[in-house]
Symmetry: C2
Subunit: 390 residues, 2 copies
């Protein structure tokens, strides 16, 4: 178990503050309510936390009014758990009900806004999805003709990007657990072990280190380096001369870590050592640039400059890191297109990657929180030279 003990959950005051912050921004934008339906947005304003979201059957809705507490419109099976939140107005139906899966209840909540031609904020932008059936959405809108739908992706994601002290403690805790699991890799992996077993063994190590779960474990192992970082593991055994990479999103109390590590198995060739060195320094350049006032683009440029020592392409992965929190990846993106200004208490991944040799790639990732004086590492910094194990 990871040493630091963190408390689960949040005080109700945390949700009240989040809601009031949202309502201040809504007032400034003339928005009269938010309709939220994703796990992370519902949890952000209510604290409603359950694995039951993994079942795709039932939709869950929260309405944030211009003033006062949010209203939950949820399946009856969630009434007990939502009843322990700070919300007082919880409306339920016996779901699933294909003919009316919460839509008439939602209609009742939104009808007053429709009558006045009010503005309802919905998440419609980049990195969002409509978390209800498109047909139900179209029916709901048809019954609320005066409603003025506006995109609040920036408003909600902007709030969620800057973490509270309690959120940062949870993120520090799970990053510590991830670091402890990675530290055990030299001891628990062995030559000849199929990659599928390497992944499974790592998952068990993360759970033993105190993770609630290790839902995201990807990686690769191949001679001198790997070419693909998103495929499921095969039965191929770890071999002398492989470069092994493991990337994990582990969770604790609903918050993710997201970082990776590379190891050479038995021996490391010069190309892999060189790629690792460039990436390690690119990561450091990203960490050093992570100061309030700099932008995500600045971080991208700082990392790209080092990467260019070996790889002029800039890579095609599209970005070199992102926000981190209740989701494995959140806004912002460290990319040339993202001019988001860094603020104190943003939690970010620093994730440069590069191509080298004959179609090989290498990735590297650390997790940080932005403080007034610069980045504070949440993950234990990787070794500056490619570790050789086995």
């Amino acid at each position: 178990m990871n040493g630091a003990v963190s408390e689960r959950g949040f005080a109700h005051s945390e949700f009240r503050a989040r809601t009031e912050n949202a309502q201040a921004l809504m007032a400034a934008a003339g928005i009269d309510g938010l309709l939220l339906m994703s796990e992370q947005d519902v949890r952000y304003f209510t604290g409603f936390h359950t694995l039951f979201w993994q079942s795709p059957t039932r939709p869950w809705f929260v309405f944030v009014p211009a003033n006062g507490q949010p209203v939950a419109v949820i399946p009856e099976i969630g009434a007990e758990l939502m009843g322990r939140s700070w919300l007082k107005d919880i409306r339920t139906w016996s779901a699933p009900a294909p003919e009316d899966d919460g839509i008439s209840l939602l209609h009742d909540v939104l009808a007053p806004l429709s009558q006045t031609g009010a503005k309802l904020g919905v998440m419609m932008g980049h990195e969002t999805k409509l978390q209800m059936p498109l047909g139900d959405w179209q029916n709901l809108m048809a019954g609320l003709p005066g409603l003025n739908i506006v995109d609040v992706t920036g408003l909600v994601q902007g709030l969620r990007m800057v973490k509270s002290g309690a959120e940062i403690e949870k993120l520090r805790h799970i990053c510590g657990i991830g670091s402890a699991a990675f530290a055990r890799v030299p001891e628990i992996m062995s030559l000849g072990q199929p990659l599928e077993d390497v992944f499974r063994t790592f998952r068990i190590a993360a759970l033993q280190a105190g993770a609630d779960d290790a839902p995201y474990v990807v990686g690769a192992a191949a001679q001198g380096g790997y070419a693909d970082v998103i495929s499921p593991p095969t039965q191929r055994p770890l071999q002398h001369g492989d470069v092994l990479m493991l990337d994990t999103g582990c969770t604790w109390d609903g918050y993710f870590c997201d970082f990776d590590r590379n190891w050479a198995i038995g021996t490391a060739d010069d190309a892999a050592k060189r790629a690792y060195d460039v990436l390690w320094r690119a990561t450091q350049a990203g960490i050093d640039a992570a100061k309030p006032g700099n932008t995500c683009r600045d971080l991208f440029m700082a990392m790209s400059k080092v990467i260019a020592e070996l790889d002029g392409s800039g890579g095609d992965i599209g970005r070199l890191g992102h926000g981190l929190g209740m989701q494995l990846t959140e806004q912002p993106s460290h990319a040339a297109f993202d001019n988001t200004e860094l603020k104190e208490n943003m939690v970010l991944t620093i994730e440069p990657s590069l191509s080298y040799g004959d179609g090989l790639m290498m990735v590297h990732e650390e997790n940080i929180v932005v403080r007034g004086g610069g980045a504070d590492l949440l993950s234990t910094r990787a070794a500056p030279e490619l570790p050789v194990i086995g």
Copy 2:
């Protein structure tokens, strides 16, 4: 490790058959193409299997034409993996790209259909979500004015409900792993163990039994019975007189098991024993009714009749089981509203629940495959009397 060795992946012929079956139904309905974007629908037609779906950043699209192979429109990071599928036409962009996250590529694929006023099938119905930003969807549609969008939820879910032999082998394999993990509970749980550790220990047992992951582990433990089955575990220690329930969705090669088990800790009171007995027999009634030609409603009624011995309410969970496959829960639903006729090779959960005593509930679940002669159990049937452990 579970004894039976199953092979990962599918032959390309499996995807060809699925696609041709879809195209036959499309032809009958006058549908000229399908636009698919969920993990399970994309995987069903392509075999594209990666944990990378956990990152909400990038959308993935597959177009199934009236004839010929599907077309993938995906982020560049997935090109290598999709390239190993049976698809030949793979179009990629460097994602994320907030200004155009695959939309212009999609437009090019769909423009010919738009010009002829063709019918494009999209998943819009019950248990689906729009797996792209609502704003992008609206922009895409605005650029394809002649397109006639139709709901194909029934068409696609109808295909996916009936499993192939290779799919059933994967489901049998993971159900065997789940059964092996549950069988170890008496040995790995102990009096005084916090419920949080019980969950973690169970996850590790599932991995050790051969699961790729145990993403869904919920449950409860309380004196004489539990009142809530979706809350995260607390630090409360297991106590003499508790009823412990664990429900798990474990995965192997992208297929889920989904069943649960109950145990009494140290002693079982008469009310819990009676609830268990009624539920066990309700489960049996569901299993016995699971024959081709019966409907989901028939299964619901068969279970409800037994449940009514103790609980006249019929419960408010909305259904007593569901389909199972690439998702923890799939169509159909064993509910009074679902008249889906059972067909050979459907894989289902049989999941009665009831209320008893002072606000307590009990749940029970097995996994089956429907065969010509009736149900074939995939999970190892639970003991007929509430097991007392610890």
